[in-house]
C-alpha cells in the first residue's frame, strides 16, 4: 500500500468520522440537555433513541427547499457550502495517534505534517466567518444580516486573544508550529521536572491561563452558548440562518457540531497531550507498537469526547452574554491577560531556562 493511498483512506476515514461524531453530537446534546433538565430525551427511534440522528437527517433531506426570491441565489447556496468546507478542512493537520507500522512501512496518522500546523488551523478558522457572512447577507433579511454581522465581529475579536494564548504555548515547544512536534513534546520529559510519569507532561499544567483563554475563545469561535448571539432566537429569530430550510440549514447546524469536534481536538492536542496517555513509555515496552498506537488514538478520542461533553454541559448551564459584555470580555479582559501571559512565559524561559 503506497503512502498516497494510505493518506487517501485516512482522509476518507476522517471525513466519515467527523460526520459521524457530528451526527451523534446532536443526539448527545439532546440526551445531556434532558439529563440536566430531569427529562428523558429522545427515546423513540431505535433502542434508547439511538437512531434519532438518522431520523433527523432523513427529515432534513425531505423538507421543502426554499430559496427566497429576493435573495442572491448563487451566494445563498455558497454560504452553507463554505461553512461546511472550512469546518472539514481543519482536521488535515491534526496528529490522530502514534504512527502505525505494517510490513516495515510506517504510516503516520496525520494527513499533512506541515511545519505551520497551528497557523494553518488559525487561518482556516478565520475563513469560517465567510460562510456565515455570505449566507446571512444573501438571505436579504435584516435579522439574518444582523446575525451575520454579530457572528463576524465576534469571531474576529476572539481570534486575536486565541492567537495570543497559543503563542505562550508555542514559546514552550522551542518555537515549533507543527502540531506533531507540540504533541510529541508533551509525551516526553518529567512533569515540573520531578514527577516521573511518562506522557503527562501536558501544557495545561504549565499554561493554565492560556488554556482558559483558549477555551473561552473556542466557545466564541463555535458560536456556542454563552456566546451564541449570532443565532439568539429571542432577539434575531434564527440569526444568520433564518431564511434557510431543508439540508442547507442542516449543513449550517452540522458544520457547527463539526467545529465543536475540531475545537475539542485542538484543545486536546495543544493543552492535554494529544494522543499521549499516562504511562505511554511503559506501555510501549510491554505491548506491540501497533497496539500502543491504537490505545493512543483511543486516548485522544477520550479527551475529545470529554471536551464535547464540556461544551454541552456549559450550554445547558450558563445564560447568554449581552453583546457589550461579550466585547468587553474579549477585548478588555482576555486580550490583556493573554499578552501578559506571553510576556511572563517569555521572561521565565529566558531567566530560568526550560
Amino acid at each position: 500500500m503506497s503512502i498516497l493511498m494510505f493518506k487517501g483512506i485516512l482522509v476518507l476515514v476522517l471525513f466519515l468520522v467527523s460526520l459521524g461524531i457530528a451526527a451523534y453530537s446532536t443526539y448527545a446534546e439532546r440526551k445531556i440537555a434532558a439529563f440536566l433538565q430531569d427529562r428523558i430525551g429522545p427515546d423513540r427511534a431505535g433502542p434508547f433513541g439511538l437512531l434519532q440522528p438518522i431520523a433527523d437527517g432523513v427529515k432534513m433531506f425531505l423538507k421543502e427547499e426554499i430559496i427566497p426570491t429576493v435573495s442572491d441565489k448563487l451566494l445563498f447556496i455558497l454560504g452553507p457550502s463554505m461553512f461546511m468546507l472550512t469546518a472539514l478542512m481543519t482536521s488535515a493537520v491534526i496528529p490522530w495517534g502514534k504512527p502505525l507500522e505494517f510490513g516495515g512501512v510506517t504510516y503516520n496518522l496525520q494527513v499533512a505534517d506541515i511545519n505551520i500546523g497551528i497557523l494553518y488551523i488559525m487561518g482556516v478558522v478565520s475563513l469560517g466567518v465567510y460562510g456565515i457572512m455570505i449566507g446571512g447577507w444573501a438571505s436579504n433579511n435584516k435579522f439574518a444580516l444582523l446575525g451575520a454581522v454579530r457572528a463576524s465581529s465576534q469571531m474576529i475579536s476572539y481570534e486575536l486573544a486565541m492567537g495570543m494564548s497559543v503563542i505562550a504555548v508555542l514559546l514552550m515547544t522551542n518555537g515549533s508550529l507543527s502540531l506533531n512536534a507540540i504533541v510529541e513534546s508533551q509525551g516526553t520529559g518529567k512533569l515540573y521536572g520531578f514527577i516521573n510519569v511518562s506522557g503527562i507532561n501536558w501544557n495545561v499544567f504549565y499554561q493554565p491561563a492560556a488554556f482558559i483563554i483558549f477555551l473561552v475563545c473556542a466557545f466564541a469561535e463555535c458560536n456556542r452558548t454563552p456566546f451564541d448571539l449570532p443565532e439568539a432566537d429571542s432577539e434575531l429569530i434564527g440569526g444568520f440562518h433564518t431564511e434557510y430550510s431543508s439540508m442547507k440549514l442542516g449543513l449550517y447546524l452540522f458544520a457547527e457540531y463539526i467545529n465543536m469536534f475540531i475545537s475539542s481536538t485542538v484543545i486536546a492536542c495543544l493543552f492535554f497531550g494529544g494522543y499521549n496517555f499516562p504511562g505511554i513509555e511503559y506501555a510501549s515496552t510491554v505491548l506491540p507498537a501497533n497496539v500502543v498506537s491504537l490505545i493512543s488514538v483511543a486516548a485522544l478520542f477520550g479527551k475529545i469526547f470529554f471536551f464535547i461533553f464540556f461544551f454541552m454541559w456549559v450550554r445547558w448551564t450558563l445564560p447568554r452574554f449581552r453583546y457589550d459584555q461579550l466585547m468587553r470580555l474579549g477585548w478588555q479582559m482576555l486580550m490583556p491577560i493573554a499578552i501578559i501571559n506571553v510576556l511572563i512565559t517569555g521572561a521565565v524561559i529566558i531567566f530560568f531556562g526550560n
Binding site: D72, I116, L119, Y120, G123, S126, M133, G175
Partner: protein, 166 residues
C-alpha cells in the same frame, strides 16, 4: 515540471480572478473574487517554499482585512440603481491617469531583463524559524519601524472612534 504546471494554473487563476474583481457589477462579487485572488497568490508562495508567508497572507488578508471589507460593503448595500452617474470629465481623467500608469508599467517591463527561476538553496528558507531569525537580526530596524507605524495607526483609530464628550 509539475511545479511549472501548478505555477501556470495558479497564474491563470490569479489573472482571471483579478479581472473579475474589476468587471463584476456587484461590489460583493468583487470582494469575493479578490479573496480568490489572494488565495491564488498564497498558492504562489507555497510553490516558492514560503509556507509561513502563504499562511500569514491568508490569515491577514483573506481572514481579517477582506472580512472587514465585506462587512462594509454589505452594510452599505450598494446597488446598481444608486450608483452615481459619472460625468464625461471624470471618465476622461480616469482614462488619462490609467493610461499613464500603464505607460510606466510597460516602460518598467521593457527595461527589465528576464531571469530564470533560481531554486532556493535550502528547502527550509521560507520556514517560520528562518524568517523569524532574519527579521530579528538583519532586518531589525525596518521591522521595528513597521511596528511603530502600526502603533501610530492604532492610536489614530482609537482617537477617531472615541466618542467626544459634550
Amino acid at each position: 515540471m509539475s511545479s511549472q504546471l501548478i505555477f501556470f494554473m495558479l497564474a491563470a487563476l490569479s489573472i482571471i480572478s483579478a479581472l473579475f474583481v474589476v468587471f463584476s457589477r456587484s461590489p460583493i462579487y468583487s470582494v469575493l473574487w479578490l479573496i480568490v485572488c489572494f488565495f491564488s497568490i498564497a498558492g504562489h508562495y507555497v510553490v516558492l517554499n514560503a509556507q509561513f508567508l502563504a499562511i500569514v497572507h491568508i490569515i491577514v488578508y483573506a481572514g481579517a482585512i477582506m472580512v472587514l471589507m465585506l462587512f462594509t460593503v454589505m452594510l452599505l448595500n450598494l446597488n446598481k440603481e444608486t450608483e452615481p452617474h459619472k460625468t464625461n470629465l471624470i471618465k476622461f481623467a480616469a482614462i488619462i491617469t490609467g493610461g499613464m500608469l500603464m505607460l510606466v508599467l510597460l516602460a518598467a517591463m521593457r527595461s527589465t531583463e528576464l531571469t530564470t527561476y533560481v531554486a532556493p538553496e535550502r528547502m527550509e528558507t521560507g520556514f517560520v524559524q528562518n524568517v523569524g531569525m532574519k527579521l530579528f537580526t538583519d532586518f531589525m530596524l525596518p521591522f521595528e519601524m513597521t511596528s511603530v507605524l502600526f502603533i501610530a495607526a492604532m492610536i489614530g483609530a482609537v482617537v477617531l472612534a472615541k466618542k467626544e464628550k459634550h
